[in-house]
């Protein structure tokens, strides 16, 4: 298969790679760039674990091809924390509200919630529930995730 060279920005860092067109963006991030914070669950767009930001909008990275990111700007969960010893306020709220147990779904929740809260910093409970409806969590029962979002929106 003919390979394609792509240039993209992930977490403010520019990467150039040569990939097969059939390589999924989720696998590209993990295997080619080593950004394993993006988790891969169902690989057909249902679980939301692989959610990243594509030009600022939350998307499923398992439903895009790596070649489609040429010239675009991405953000993964690795780009969230301001420094090695500091958490993003959203991450801090998850930590404080016990909004994660096994943590597998957490990157997807964080990347879904980031643009949501930027647009709607003080959401209602119903709006939060709708915002996270596209992400599955099998540990928490969602209640603590809801509380984490409320916590950060009250700041």
């Amino acid at each position: 298969m003919s390979q394609q060279t792509i240039t993209l920005t992930v977490n403010n860092q520019v990467y150039e790679r040569t990939v097969e067109p059939r390589l999924l963006l989720s696998d590209f991030l993990r295997h080619e760039l080593g950004l394993t914070g993006t988790h891969v669950g169902c690989e057909h767009g249902v679980c939301g674990a692989c959610t990243i930001l594509f030009d600022g909008a939350a998307v499923r990275s398992c439903l895009m091809l790596a070649v489609q990111t040429n010239g675009h700007e991405l953000m993964t969960v690795e780009g969230l924390a301001p420094g090695p010893d500091k958490l993003h306020p959203l991450q801090q709220a998850f930590h404080e509200a016990h909004a994660l147990q096994c943590g597998f779904c957490t990157p997807g929740f964080l990347m879904t919630l980031l643009p949501f809260l930027q647009e709607n910093p003080h959401p209602t409970e119903a709006e939060i529930r709708e915002a996270i409806s596209g992400n599955l969590c099998r540990c928490t029962g969602y209640q603590h995730i809801l509380e984490a979002v409320q916590r950060v929106s009250e700041q």
């Binding site: 298969m1 003919s2 394609q4 097969e20 067109p21 059939r22 390589l23 999924l24 696998d27 690989e43 057909h44 767009g45 939301g48 959610t51 594509f54 909008a57 939350a58 998307v59 499923r60 398992c62 439903l63 895009m64 091809l65 070649v67 489609q68 879904t112 949501f116 529930r129 709708e130 915002a131 409806s133 596209g134």
Partner: protein, 290 residues
């Protein structure tokens, strides 16, 4: 690697895209938002030899109000349609329905035309297109035709599109005076495929008599289904509780053919269709201001 190998083609103009489609036809799949195609490719249920990616093509991403109605380019993202004030003003049924389509992450990529061309019987937009008598612009190399939504859907995931044709634009006719619309669906969780959904588009005279009615169901057969008899029952009448109940019963018991699945039996879907029809017509009545 999940998908099987394919030749990736990313045309930058419509002319180029149609030429590629003409050349590869049956062997090729068009990649719009990819929110339905990529999953089936990941499962290898679809293994196109050529993938024609329309995402580098800019001419099909538009929402325009013209004399003959609202024109929506096939590659317009569902999220863009959802947030368009023009759509909210000129096609309130579309506006009301958009949030029911999957989740925001899906709507950020999924396209308006892609959902219609994919013709999933559980999808919202085909039913809405049918309820609003939308017209679809189908283009191929060297020619084009406009087709009514009613003639577009031919079967399960099947449309009147020939292998070298592409849906490029959707025209929603101007809302006639007195038209009131509503959409409802029932899903196990918000954003899941609906077990049953109904789009209602009714037109009323100034004294609130129904002049025209279209009740269209999703997830109750192989294609979006217009309940002809139930819709006709409403015409010439005012929406009373009794009439609503009669029409809902007629639609659910005689005009839809739901099949049972792991989540719901056919009988339960019929029950849901009846309840939803009643509710959607009650909502229409509230909006009429009765």
């Amino acid at each position: 690697m999940k998908p099987a190998p394919f030749v990736y083609l990313a045309p930058s103009t419509l002319t180029e895209a149609l030429a590629l489609l003409h050349q590869h036809g049956d062997e090729a799949k068009i990649l719009a938002g990819g929110q339905s195609l990529i999953p089936v490719m990941n499962f290898r249920l679809a293994q196109p030899s050529h993938l024609i990616d329309l995402n580098l093509l800019h001419g099909l991403d538009f929402i325009r109000a013209e004399v003959d109605g609202l024109h929506i380019g096939a590659m317009t993202r569902q999220r863009t349609v959802e947030r368009s004030p023009l759509v909210a003003a000129l096609a309130p049924l579309v506006h009301e329905t958009m949030p029911f389509i999957a989740h925001s992450q899906i709507r950020n990529r999924g396209t308006f035309g892609g959902s219609i061309a994919h013709a999933d019987p559980a999808a919202e937009l085909p039913a809405v297109a049918l309820a609003l008598n939308a017209r679809l612009r189908l283009q191929k190399q060297g020619s084009e035709r406009w087709l009514a939504a009613a003639e577009f859907f031919t079967g399960l995931f099947a449309t009147d599109l020939s292998p070298d044709e592409m849906l490029t634009e959707v025209l929603i006719p101007p809302t006639p005076p007195g038209m009131v619309t509503a959409f409802m669906e029932f899903a196990r969780r918000h954003g899941d495929y609906a077990l049953v959904g109904v789009a209602a588009a009714l037109t009323f005279t100034p004294d609130h008599t129904c002049r025209e009615a279209r009740l269209v169901y999703l997830s109750v057969g192989e294609i979006p289904t217009l309940a002809v008899q139930a819709s006709a029952m409403l015409v010439g009448e005012k929406l009373t509780d009794e009439l609503i109940a009669t029409a809902a019963h007629a639609a659910a018991s005689e005009e839809i053919e739901p099949s049972g699945d792991i989540h719901a039996t056919a009988a339960y879907k019929r029950h849901l269709a009846q309840v939803l029809t009643r509710r959607v017509l009650q909502k229409v009545r509230e909006r009429v201001g009765d």
